[in-house]
């Protein structure tokens, strides 16, 4: 019983911390992204937002915001002494899915920029695509390692069938 309590306290802290960190990243991106859209629509080349070394993305910000909210709701669910494994899993799997997506985008970006030399990539830097992966990876990775058994199905050898 004592051990159960500990695990759930542990998870409560993890969910809150993960959620808040993602929340900061998400809100920053959304606000910067909004400025960027504004600057683009008014064609303000000189706007300060364009001085940031990567283009902020409002939609990516929203996606991260939702992951953060899933964890946050999970935190409150644990506070009510209910099972929040689902919240932990869904948030983490969504985040991992986005990391995979951004890795894919990074690879295609590098290909587009260097191998194909596309025009759109004149001002592109590796950092612009890489930063998502750097921002997003630590927490979901940590959750995946720490709570692997809750998030993923264990690969047991099905002995009964092997014979």
């Amino acid at each position: 019983m004592e051990m159960l309590k500990n695990t759930s306290n542990n998870m409560k802290t993890s969910l809150l911390a993960g959620s808040l960190i993602f929340l900061v990243v998400a809100i920053t991106e959304v606000i910067l992204g909004a400025f960027k859209i504004y600057a683009d629509s008014k064609e303000l080349e000189e706007h300060w937002v364009n001085a940031i070394p990567f283009p902020p993305g409002i939609f990516t910000g929203l996606a991260i915001l939702i992951v953060s909210l899933v964890w946050l709701v999970g935190y409150f669910v644990i506070k009510k002494d209910q099972n929040a494994n689902g919240y932990l899993s869904v948030g983490t799997i969504l985040a991992l899915g986005f990391i995979l997506l951004f890795i894919l985008i990074l690879i295609t970006d590098i290909f587009n920029a260097y191998a194909l030399g596309l025009e759109d990539y004149e001002n592109w830097t590796v950092l612009a695509s890489l930063r998502w992966i750097i921002f997003l990876s630590p927490i979901p990775m940590f959750f995946t390692i720490k709570y692997r058994d809750l998030i993923f199905t264990r690969k047991k050898k099905t002995s009964a069938l092997q014979s």
């Binding site: 909210l69 709701v73 689902g86 919240y87 997506l101 587009n112 194909l116 199905t153 099905t158 069938l161």
Partner: protein, 680 residues
């Protein structure tokens, strides 16, 4: 039953015995996975006669014998009220089968065994393939295979189809039982029902024309449940009218419920002996469902999953599209420059290679779209998406399952319309088919990109987004209209299984991508290629002296003829020509414009030529985009609509309706724009 006729077929296939097998089972139990594992690529995909339900057949060489395997539609029952059940049932009755393999999801034994009781009552020679043993073990439940086999009176082969475990066992078991006669299962019903059954059976025995294939107890059970198909059977056997009436008079509404109850009691008795359930009350899937269907989180999660899917499609297809573009541009240039006979170089270069390139460039996004959708479907999330969207869809006169075809429509309307087969109610399905072309497919994108990019600068993205929204709005409006007029009534019940979440398998996503993407390649290879050559021909005729695509060609004559209808929309003959060509395929529109306005075939050249041309300006390019969005996507869609609706009338309706709607919306855009004098 036919399955009992003992025959050794010694034909074809290296003179070995041929065993005919059908795969039956509930949906989502791994039927396709097992079928693919058994047959590999030796399969034939067609339709069941007269209907648009897919039929797959395959062969498998085994040690000393050969299997011919038919994949039956996935069903929960065999009561012959739905099309799928009817197909499965009559194939089992008439198919001269040796063995029916029922694939069962071991983690969902009870409901799956219901179908087994029906198969056994029907008298089929059944083998149970007890699949998903890995999931069963994970849920810490267990099944006593021997007991299950004994209680159900059939062999049971445990397996994990997705890891190809247990396939050999299954083959051997099929071989060992195919000549043995299984006794039909006998579930004892209530005393009253048994008495009625006895009476009916007695009458049936006295009718000599009933083929010996038919089990009289099975027939009697169907008759007292008012099975509508039995009447057809009886008539076919020339049974005397008064006897038919007498037989049918035994039918009672309540028997059906009682019979189903008794069958499930029988099953509960079997599972109480053979199945040990784990303690876990809420499974992992249940916990995930609580999040995915959460009151506040459900719809945002749905939206970001869709957003992620589209990001995936774009990210992965851009480099491939660029490569295809470069390759075909280079090839076309090479042909035009190096073939000395002018018209031949132009036909091969501008016409065929250029046109093929314009079509093949859409292969990457379409394949990527099918890939990611198959991943979502395999994972189990797509069923939840339909669940989350159902209420909204019903408001619009649609059904939760309409959502997937609508989403697919953004890729290509052809497979999207084919995917409406998941809708079992005809009205729901017709509406979903008829509105699908308004979902803006990938082929319309180049037109939008060209014109929005040229005339709307920084607002191009917004304009394109607004076009997509307009398409969706028109689709919804049309759905509501159709539901209120031609397809009155409620949408079908949403009795849908929510399968447990699985980790998607790369292999099955790749197979699904290829299966569906092939349809697009076929379209590209046939209709579009012919269209390209036709346009080239008209643009080059009459021979001698006329400038290719110039005002003296046959192409111009066609455009000029229709021009008056389109003048109120701001189109001159050249745009009209491009739009007529667009009837064949939207992929041709940009190319056709290039042919007419000049620009040397390259994207940049076309842009410069259009900018320099007085016939193109922001307002008429806007109405051109609206028209392109709303009228018939392509000839292939017309073809597939005809096939899937089974009606020329509705196909023609869709073509005329969408063209009229397109004309009206473009008219409003152009005339309002002119009136308001926006300076566009």
């Amino acid at each position: 039953m036919s399955v009992k006729t003992k025959k050794v077929k010694e034909m074809t296939l290296d003179d070995k015995r041929v065993i005919e097998v059908a795969l039956a089972g509930n949906p989502n139990t791994g039927k396709s996975t097992l079928f693919n594992a058994l047959t590999g690529l030796r399969q034939k995909i067609g339709n069941w006669p007269g209907v648009t339900v897919e039929k797959k057949e395959g062969k498998k060489r085994c040690d000393g014998f050969n299997l011919i395997i038919t994949d039956l539609p996935g069903t929960y029952s065999l009561s012959a009220y739905s099309l799928d059940e009817k197909i499965a049932r009559s194939f089992i009755i008439e198919g001269k089968l040796d063995v029916v393999v029922q694939i069962i999801d071991a983690s969902n034994l009870e409901r799956n065994l219901y179908l087994t009781t029906m198969l056994r009552e029907l008298g089929a020679n059944v083998v149970i393939a007890l699949n998903m043993m890995d999931l069963l073990e994970e849920s810490s439940s267990s099944i006593d295979v021997n007991k299950l086999s004994k209680e159900m009176g059939v062999p049971v082969v445990p397996m994990i189809a997705s890891s190809r475990i247990g396939i050999d066992d299954l083959e051997n078991t099929i071989e060992s039982i195919y000549q043995k006669e299984q006794k039909p299962i006998r579930i004892t019903y209530s005393k009253e029902i048994e008495e009625v059954l006895a009476n009916v059976q007695e009458i049936l025995m006295s009718i000599p024309s009933i083929p010996s294939d038919f089990d009289s107890r099975w027939l009697a059970i169907q008759i007292i449940q008012n099975d509508p198909e039995i009447l057809t059977f009886l008539k076919n056997w020339n049974v005397n009218k008064t006897i038919i009436e007498k037989l049918l008079s035994f039918g009672r509404e309540d028997y059906e419920a009682e019979i189903i109850d008794t069958k499930y009691e029988f099953i509960t008795n079997v599972t109480s002996k053979a199945l040990k359930r784990g303690e876990e009350k809420l499974t992992r899937s249940d916990l995930v469902d609580k999040v995915v269907t959460h009151k506040w989180l459900g719809i945002p999660i749905f939206l970001i999953v869709m957003w992620g899917a589209f990001q995936f499609v774009f990210a992965i297809s851009v480099p491939f599209m660029e490569l295809i573009d470069m390759l075909f541009g280079w090839l076309a240039g090479l042909l035009v420059d190096n073939i000395n006979i002018g018209w031949l170089g132009s036909l091969l270069g501008d016409g065929i290679v250029g046109g093929l390139g314009a079509v093949l460039i859409f292969v990457p996004p379409i394949f990527a779209m099918f890939f990611i959708l198959s991943v979502l479907e395999d994972s189990g999330y797509l069923a939840r998406a339909a669940f989350v969207m159902d209420k909204i869809m019903v408001k619009f006169g649609l059904h939760g399952h309409s959502f997937i075809p609508m989403l697919l429509g953004f890729g290509c309307n052809v497979p999207a319309i084919m995917s409406t087969r998941s809708l079992k109610n005809n009205k729901d399905r017709m509406i979903t088919i008829l509105i699908n072309p308004f979902m803006s497919c990938g082929a319309r994108m180049p037109v939008f990109i060209l014109f929005a990019g040229l005339f709307f600068g920084a607002a191009a993205g917004t304009v394109i987004f607004a076009l997509y929204i307009l398409g969706i709005v028109v689709a919804i409006f049309t759905a509501i209209l159709l539901r209120k007029t031609f397809f009155k009534g409620k949408s079908a019940p949403f009795i849908m299984e929510l399968p447990p979440y699985h980790t998607p398998k790369l292999r099955s996503a790749t197979v699904a991508m290829w299966d569906k993407g092939k349809m697009y390649l076929k379209k590209a290879g046939t209709i579009i290629l012919i269209g390209v050559m036709f346009v080239w021909f008209l643009a080059a005729m009459p021979f001698g002296g006329v400038e290719y695509g110039g005002p003296d060609t046959w192409l111009a004559a066609v455009g000029t003829f229709f021009e008056p209808i389109f003048r109120p929309l701001g189109f001159d003959w050249r745009i009209v020509v491009a739009l007529i060509v667009g009837f064949v395929a939207k992929e041709l529109v940009v190319g056709a414009l290039g042919t007419i306005v000049g620009g040397g075939g390259s994207e940049e050249g076309i842009k410069d030529a259009i900018l320099a041309d007085e016939g193109f300006y922001p307002l008429n390019s806007l109405s051109l985009m609206v028209f392109t969005l709303l009228y018939v996507p392509c000839a292939a869609v017309i073809g597939v609509m005809r096939k899937e609706t089974g009606s020329w009338r509705w196909t023609i309706f869709a073509v005329v309706y969408s063209t009229v709607i397109a004309w009206l919306f473009a008219l409003v855009v152009f005339q309002l724009g002119s009136l308001m004098n926006l300076g566009l």
